[in-house]
C-alpha cells in the first residue's frame, strides 16, 4: 500500500479542511433549526479551530499548539455543558427546541 500520499498532504490541505469544517459549522449555525444541532455546529467550528492549531503546531514544530488544543477542548466542553443545560431548561419550559420559536425579543 502506498502511503506516500500522506506525506504529500501539506499544511494547506489541513488548513483548507479546517476552513471547510469551520464553514460547515458556520453554515450549520446559520441554517439548522434545532437548538441541539446548533450547539453541535458550534462544536464543529471549535474543532476545526483545533485542527488548525494542531496542523500549525505540527508544521511549525512547536508544541504550543497541542497544548492550546487541550485548553480549547476544555472550554468547549464547558461551553457544551452550559449550552446543553440551557437547552434542557428551555425544553422543559417551552417544550420547544426549534430556534425559530425564540423570537419574542426583537425590534
Amino acid at each position: 500500500m502506498n502511503t506516500d500520499f500522506i506525506n504529500q498532504i501539506g499544511l494547506n490541505h489541513y488548513l483548507i479542511l479546517a476552513a471547510l469544517l469551520f464553514t460547515m459549522g458556520m453554515a450549520g449555525v446559520l441554517l439548522r433549526r434545532n437548538v441541539i444541532v446548533l450547539l453541535m455546529s458550534i462544536e464543529l467550528m471549535l474543532n476545526s479551530v483545533n485542527l488548525t492549531f494542531v496542523a500549525f503546531s505540527k508544521y511549525l514544530g512547536l508544541l504550543d499548539g497541542h497544548i492550546i488544543v487541550f485548553f480549547v477542548m476544555t472550554i468547549a466542553a464547558a461551553e457544551a455543558a452550559v449550552g446543553l443545560a440551557l437547552a434542557v431548561t428551555i425544553f422543559k419550559r417551552f417544550r420547544e427546541v426549534n430556534i425559530r420559536f425564540f423570537e419574542h425579543l426583537k425590534g
Partner: protein, 643 residues
C-alpha cells in the same frame, strides 16, 4: 437770562406739562388739564419770545444762540450733541409753534370740554409741542429726526385719540406707517450725508456743501437730498405719501389745526430750508421737489373741489398749500417757502379752528351738505373764517396774498423754475379760490340745510379768542414780507422777512430780478383768476345750487375719479399692502412652516427612518443575527484582502 435756562424752559416746559397730565391720565376734567397744558406752552412761548428778542438784539452776522446740554451719542466720528440752536429760521418756527400752540391749547379747553380723556389729550398735545420744538431747534439732523419721529408718534396718538372707533385708530396707524416710509428714506439720507461729510450737524453740513452744483443723479448730495426729500413728502404730505393726511382728520379738530395744518406738516419744508445750501447744489433734487410740489398743488386742489366733509376739504387744501411751499423750495425760493409756511400756519389754523367751532356747534356734524346759512348762528366764527378765506384765496392785502404771490413770482422767474410750474401754481390758486368759496358758501351762506333737531350756537369765549387772534394774524401776517415792487409803490415798506432770513438763505445761482411790469402782471393774473373762480363758485353754491350737480352729471367719469380721490388709496391697497400681506402669509406658510420646518423634520424623519430599517432588521431570529456576523466577517475579510 441765561440762554441755556431759557432753552431748557422752551423745550422742557411742554415735556413737564406732558408728564403732569400723563400721570393724571385717569382724570376727566378738561379745565384743569387744559390749564396746566396751556400754561406749559405759554411758558414755552414766553421763553421763546425772550430768546428771539435776544436774538434780534444780536449783531446781524452772528445771530445764533446755540446751547449744548450734553453729548448724546458719541461713537467714532459720529458726535451728536443734545444741542439746540435758535437762529433766524428756528426763531420763526418756535414762535409759530408755541404761539399758535398756545392759542390752540386754549381753544382745546373749550373744545374738549366734554371729553373724558381730556388729560390724556392735553398730555399728547404737550408732548407734541415738545417734539416739534426738538425738531426745529435741533442742531443736527439726528436731533431733528428725534423730533421728526416724535411728532409722528403724537400725530398717531392724537389721530387715534378716539381709539374705540376702529377706523380712527386705523387712520392713526396709517399716518404713522406712511410717515415711517418717509422716515426710512430720511434715515438713508442721513447715512449718505454722514458717510460723505462725516457730520450730521446742520451748520457743518451747510458749510461743507459743495460750491459747484452737482449734475449727476447719483452724486452724494443729490441722492442724499432726494432721500431727505422723500422723508419730507411723508411728513409734509406730498405726492406720493400724502394719503395719510386726509384720514388724519379723524382726530379732534384742534389737533388738525395744530399738527396737520400749522406745524408738523411743515416740518419737511423747514428741513429743506434748514439745509438749503445743500439742496441748492443739487439741481436735480430741486427739480424733483418743484415738480412734486406743483403736482401736489393741483392734484390736491382738484380733490378738494369735490369733497363734502368740511375737514377733508381743509385737509386737501393743506396738502395743496404745502405743495406751494415745496414748489417754492424747488425753485430756490426758500425764504418764500418759509413765508408761506408762516402765513399758512395762521390762516389754516384759523380755518381748522373755525371748522371745529362749526362742528362743535353742529354736534359733531362734518358734512357740509347738512350745513348752510350758519352765518347768523355763528357770527364770530363766520367773520374769522371769512378772513381766513380771503387770506387763502390770495386777496391783497391778506397774508396769503403776499406769500403765495412771492412763490409764484419766484417760480416764474427763477432759473430753476419755469412758466409751466408757474401755470400750475396759478391753476392751483384758481382752484383753491373755487373750493374755498364753495366751502364758505355751503357752510355759512345760502339757505340753511341744518336738520331740525340741531340748534347751532356760537362757541364760548375760550374758543373764539384764539379765532379772533388768528384772524387778525391772517390779515396782518403778510405785511412783514411785502414784495419790493409793492413796497416801493406804497412808500418804502421794507421786506423785513427777506432781510431777516437773508444770512441763512443761499441765493439762487443765476437769479435776475424781475421787471416791475411783469411782476404786476403776474400778480394781477393770479388775483384776477382767483376772483373769477371765487365768483363762479359763489354763483354755483349760493345763487344756483342745482348747477354743480348738473355739471357733475355731465362729466360723470371725471367727477367720480376726482370724487374718489383718484383711487389712490385703493391702488396702494391693491398694489402694495394686500400683496404684501398675502406674501407674508405665504412665506410664513410655505417657507417657514412647510419648508424650513419640514426640512428639520426631514432630518428627524431620516433618523427615524433609518432607525425603523434597523429595527426591522432586528427580527429576533438568532440565525439572522448570526448571519449578520457572518456577512460582516466575510465583507471585512474580502475588503481587507484587497490590498
Amino acid at each position: 437770562m441765561n440762554h441755556s435756562l431759557l432753552m431748557a424752559l422752551v423745550i422742557l416746559s411742554p415735556l413737564i406739562g406732558f408728564l403732569i397730565n400723563g400721570f393724571r391720565y385717569k382724570r376727566h376734567s378738561a379745565n384743569v388739564a387744559g390749564v396746566i397744558a396751556t400754561i406749559a406752552i405759554a411758558i414755552s412761548f414766553v421763553s421763546s419770545a425772550i430768546l428771539v428778542t435776544d436774538l434780534i438784539a444780536m449783531p446781524e452776522e452772528s445771530r445764533r444762540i446755540a446751547v449744548k446740554f450734553f453729548e448724546w451719542l458719541v461713537i467714532d466720528r459720529l458726535k451728536i450733541d443734545a444741542g439746540f440752536v435758535v437762529d433766524q429760521i428756528s426763531a420763526v418756527m418756535i414762535l409759530i409753534i408755541t404761539g399758535v400752540g398756545t392759542l390752540i391749547h386754549m381753544y382745546s379747553i373749550g373744545y374738549m370740554h366734554h371729553d373724558k380723556g381730556a388729560a390724556k389729550y392735553f398730555a399728547y398735545l404737550n408732548l407734541f409741542i415738545f417734539n416739534m420744538l426738538l425738531l426745529v431747534l435741533g442742531d443736527s439732523l439726528l436731533v431733528m429726526f428725534v423730533g421728526w419721529e416724535g411728532v409722528g408718534l403724537c400725530s398717531y396718538l392724537l389721530i387715534g385719540f378716539w381709539f374705540t372707533d376702529s377706523e380712527k385708530a386705523a387712520a392713526g396707524m396709517k399716518a404713522f406707517i406712511t410717515n415711517r416710509v418717509g422716515d426710512a428714506a430720511f434715515l438713508l439720507g442721513m447715512f449718505l450725508l454722514f458717510v460723505t461729510y462725516g457730520t450730521l450737524n446742520f451748520s457743518e453740513l451747510n458749510a461743507l456743501a459743495p460750491t459747484v452744483a452737482e449734475s449727476s443723479w447719483l452724486g452724494a448730495v443729490t441722492l442724499g437730498t432726494l432721500f431727505l426729500f422723500i422723508g419730507a413728502t411723508g411728513k409734509s404730505a406730498q405726492i406720493p405719501l400724502y394719503v395719510w393726511l386726509p384720514d388724519a382728520m379723524a382726530g379732534p379738530t384742534p389737533v388738525s389745526a395744530l399738527i396737520h395744518a400749522a406745524t408738523m406738516v411743515t416740518a419737511g419744508v423747514y428741513m429743506i430750508v434748514r439745509l438749503n445750501p445743500l439742496f441748492i447744489m443739487a439741481p436735480n433734487t430741486m427739480m424733483v421737489i418743484a415738480i412734486i410740489g406743483a403736482a401736489t398743488v393741483v392734484f390736491a386742489a382738484t380733490i378738494g373741489m369735490t369733497q363734502w366733509d368740511i375737514k377733508k376739504i381743509l385737509a386737501y387744501s393743506t396738502v395743496s398749500q404745502l405743495g406751494y411751499m415745496f414748489l417754492a423750495c424747488g425753485v430756490g425760493a426758500f425764504g418764500a417757502a418759509m413765508f408761506h409756511l408762516m402765513t399758512h400756519a395762521f390762516f389754516k389754523a384759523l380755518m381748522f379752528l373755525g371748522s371745529g367751532s362749526v362742528i362743535h356747534a353742529m354736534h359733531e356734524e362734518q358734512d357740509v351738505r347738512k350745513m348752510g346759512g350758519l352765518k347768523k348762528y355763528l357770527p364770530i366764527t363766520h367773520i374769522t373764517f371769512f378772513l381766513g378765506w380771503l387770506a387763502i384765496i390770495g386777496m391783497p392785502p391778506f397774508a396769503g396774498f403776499f406769500s403765495k404771490d412771492e412763490i409764484l413770482a419766484y417760480t416764474f422767474n427763477s432759473p430753476m423754475g419755469s412758466p409751466i410750474l408757474w401755470a400750475a401754481g396759478v391753476l392751483g390758486a384758481t382752484l383753491t379760490a373755487f373750493y374755498m368759496t364753495r366751502l364758505m358758501a355751503l357752510t355759512f351762506w345760502g339757505k340753511s340745510r341744518v336738520s331740525k333737531d340741531v340748534h347751532p350756537h356760537e362757541s364760548p369765549a375760550l374758543m373764539t379768542i384764539p379765532l379772533i387772534t388768528l384772524g387778525v394774524l391772517s390779515v396782518i401776517g403778510g405785511w412783514i414780507g411785502v414784495p419790493h415792487v409793492l413796497g416801493e409803490y406804497l412808500g418804502h415798506i421794507p421786506n423785513v422777512w427777506e432781510h431777516w432770513l437773508h444770512p441763512l438763505i443761499k441765493g439762487i445761482p443765476g437769479w435776475q430780478t424781475l421787471d416791475h411790469a411783469t411782476e404786476f402782471a403776474l400778480m394781477g393774473t393770479s388775483v384776477g383768476l382767483a376772483l373769477i373762480s371765487a365768483g363762479i363758485a359763489y354763483h354755483f353754491y349760493v345763487k344756483a345750487p342745482d348747477a354743480p350737480k348738473k355739471i357733475a352729471e355731465k362729466i360723470k367719469p371725471i367727477y367720480n375719479l376726482v370724487y374718489n380721490k383718484y383711487f389712490v388709496d385703493e391702488v396702494y391697497f391693491g398694489a402694495i399692502i394686500n400683496p404684501l400681506v398675502n406674501l407674508s402669509r405665504n412665506i410664513w406658510y410655505y417657507i417657514d412652516v412647510n419648508f424650513i420646518d419640514k426640512m428639520t423634520y426631514l432630518a428627524g424623519d431620516l433618523a427615524r427612518g433609518m432607525g425603523s430599517v434597523i429595527r426591522s432588521s432586528q427580527t429576533g431570529n438568532v440565525q439572522q443575527y448570526a448571519m449578520y456576523i457572518g456577512i460582516g466577517v466575510v465583507v471585512a475579510l474580502s475588503f481587507v484582502i484587497m490590498r
